[in-house]
Amino acid sequence: MKNRLKVLRAERDWSQQDLGERLGVSRQSVNAIEKGRYDPSLPLAFSISEVFGLPIEEIFSRD
């Protein structure tokens, strides 16, 4: 899966640590998701969607 996490985070001037704290996950998790090394579960994808105020499909897309 591809995602726009890094761009969305940069637009808000958030570090990976900042986003991790908002999501309740580690900085390593944010980094792994951003780099496409790990696809988040549906609950975490919904949390990401809520944090950015965007629908999931505007954040994640198929390769």
Binding site: Q16, Q17, G24, S26, Q28, A32, Y38
Partner: protein, 210 residues
């Protein structure tokens, strides 16, 4: 200096990986000396084992300190991992005490076999406690990515330990290798956790759990 900055200095300025590597290397060296019969007698080997045991304690202390920080790094942190480190430290301490008691009682006191049996079981249970701690970590870890990494670590460790036991067992049955006590395969499992962490680092960019 802040509390967090103080905590990240680990033990004697070294982090858990340094102490882990020292634990591994010193254990390997002592095992090598024992297997090659360069050192004879359990007493000397047990005394030498104080070196990796001390390094292991330092590793757990530095890991606990690291787990309590919030600074960015390559190791995942959290309450579940702090509890894990604490549990492993307790189990390890219990192991050291019961192992020392078993050796002392066996060599010096000549107690009834039931006492030796109970002490040996206690030592084994203390080691089993580390497996339980790993299971609790997998259950209690709320960060799903770190949980995946922890499970991968445990699977790699289990595969390595069980494969080693299987291969060695058949070789031993054919009198092709010497006999080794079965608890060494638990030690291989612990070594496998380090391999698992290294695999996580290569494949996912982070070591994962402590």
């Amino acid at each position: 200096m802040t509390k967090a900055a103080t905590q990240t200095t680990g033990v004697l300025g070294r982090g858990p990986f340094f102490w882990g590597a020292l634990t591994l290397l010193s254990t390997a060296l002592i095992v090598g000396l024992g297997v090659s019969e360069a050192i004879e007698g359990k007493g000397v080997l047990i005394m030498l084992m104080l070196i990796p045991i001390t390094a292991f304690i330092a590793m757990m202390r530095s890991a606990y300190r690291l787990a309590g920080t919030t600074e960015p790094g390559c190791i995942a942190k959290g309450a579940a991992q702090q509890r894990y480190v604490k549990r492993v430290a307790i189990c390890t301490s219990l192991y050291l005490l019961s192992f020392a008691a078993t050796q002392f009682a066996g060599n010096e006191l000549d107690p009834p076999r039931a006492v030796i049996f109970a002490l040996a079981v206690l030592t084994g249970l203390a080691v089993s406690g580390v497996f339980w701690a790993m299971g609790r970590l997998i259950i209690e870890e709320t960060d799903e990515f770190i949980r995946v990494l922890t499970i991968r670590q445990a699977l790699i460790a289990s595969g390595l330990a069980l494969s080693s036991a299987s291969i060695w067992g058949f070789l031993e049955a054919e009198d092709l290798v010497m006999h080794i006590d079965a608890y060494w395969f638990a030690m291989i499992w612990f070594f496998g956790l380090m391999i698992g962490a290294a695999v996580n680092r290569v494949e996912h960019g982070t070591w994962g759990a402590l």
